[in-house]
Amino acid sequence: MTKHKHILTHGLAAIALTLGTYSAAVSAEDYTKMTPKALAEHLIFKAGGFKLDEATQEGTTVTERQTQDGIQKACSALGSKTIDGDTAAKVNAMARKSIVKPDGGIKLGDWKKGQALARSGFGFRVGHRDDDHSKREPGGNCYACHQLDPNEIAFGTLGPSLAAYGKTRGTSEAMLNYAYEVIYNPHSYFPCTYMPRFGHNKVLTQEQISHVMAYLFDPESPVNQELKPQSW
């Protein structure tokens, strides 16, 4: 008991030192006086819930990772509920403002590079094991949630199927623009979607987005091929 208490107090004191204003005298009992939201924030940022000082691949620390921006806040506030009109309009407006188009227009890159990006779940993980971006390029992990190549059986279903994407939709300027914006910030069309903001959050570069788009639209891409008869 005493040793345990000592460690706890020691831990709190260390936090108090780093935060300056935080008092080591804050007891767990005070939790009941906070709103659930305030307590959750307290547990993350002040009660030692996360290793906040760890460096991230984007050159910040975990503190910034855990800090929410406007879209994250608005969408989290929905909890288990489906989105309402006011939130949708607010989130959509924030998303529209965020979109940055590539210099020289939207172009399709190399579908083979896009395929590698769609398959790779590497990148941006921190904590007990860090993804070292200097050793391997981070990916887009599209297959975690979407079907793309109809002949790939290990695809997720959190997002819609994108099989035959270019084949069924064509490659008009409007279509390319739409796909780019969805990848850059999907909340511009689907407010509070589960899909990451690959461009806005700097998960994928402009060049990488062009490769992923080639994987979706290029007639040569496996995404736009027929389903092969099963050999088994």
Partner: protein
């Protein structure tokens, strides 16, 4: 004779819900009853795992934990038989399914891992740097042996974390906030993967927090993870999920981790625990 049998049947069914009768069930029986009751792709996703459950390698871990539990250990040469997991010193039957809970002696809401560590330090005299306390993961760790044994004593019991103390409710409610809180490079929250039933990440079927009959399997840790070839804990699952979400390292035993576990246990309330479980 027939009348007597008919009369006795409701009695037997009523008695079937008591602790002694439930603990006779094997974990796979508990799972199969759920499968017969509801339609869930998550519960049925691995026929091979269900078939292997009678030979779950976690049973070795349970046996090793049972030995460790009663063995006098540590600087104080004491066993853990006086450790109170919420139902009285040394009482393990049904203790785990009623955790996390508030403990008056620490003034905190504690999950199984933090409570176990508390007892190892106070009763047995281990320090936080001693291997039995420090090493939290892997079937070979004392921590996983003890946790798996203690949890196995709640197999088939309905999850029933107490919510009588205001701190228990505060932690559960904050845990709910954490569950739905989006952050990090991918904007993910726990809901991203666990908000709907029947969805997949790649080939893995995901459990929904809103479907208690499948959620009970999701939170039935310790479980032997076939892909890891190790028994894993609730704390290991929390750490892994935050890592995959591209959020920061959640500290083991932190109030944030316990709040999340309080919420997720409450979400499975009333459903039987599958302990030890076997997962992909």
């Amino acid at each position: 004779m027939l009348r007597r049998t008919l009369f006795a049947l409701p009695m037997a069914l009523a008695l079937g819900t008591t602790a002694s009768a439930e603990s006779d069930k094997a974990p796979e029986d508990v799972l199969n009853e759920l499968i017969n009751k509801v339609d869930s792709k998550y519960l049925t996703q691995s026929e091979q795992n269900i078939m292997m459950m009678p030979d779950n390698p976690a049973y070795w871990t349970v046996d090793e934990g049972e030995e460790l539990f009663s063995e006098p250990r540590g600087p104080k040469n004491a066993s853990l038989e006086t450790c109170d997991f919420g139902k009285g010193p040394g009482v393990l039957d049904g203790a785990y399914t009623e955790m996390p809970r508030f403990f008056a002696d620490t003034g905190k809401v504690m999950d199984l891992e933090t409570r176990l560590i508390h007892c190892m330090m106070t009763i047995q005299g281990f320090t936080k740097d001693d291997a039995p306390v420090k090493k939290r993961h892997g079937s070979g760790s004392d921590m996983m042996k003890l946790q798996t044994y203690i949890a196995s004593k709640s197999n088939g019991q309905p999850w029933n974390p107490p919510m009588d103390h205001p701190l228990e409710r505060a932690m559960r409610d904050a845990g709910k906030e954490l569950f739905y809180r989006r952050a990090g490079s991918f904007d993910f929250s726990c809901k991203t993967c666990h908000g709907a039933t029947g969805k997949r990440i790649r080939a893995s079927v995901l459990p929904s927090v809103e479907f208690p009959e499948e959620w009970t399997k999701a939170i039935s840790w310790p479980a032997y993870r076939v892909g890891h070839q190790n028994v894993r804990s609730s704390q290991h699952r929390v750490r892994g999920c935050y890592w995959q979400m591209r959020q920061g390292l959640v500290k083991p035993g932190s109030d944030a981790s316990i709040a999340l576990i309080s919420f997720w246990t409450d979400a499975a309330r009333g459903q039987p625990a599958i302990l030890p479980d076997m997962k992909r």
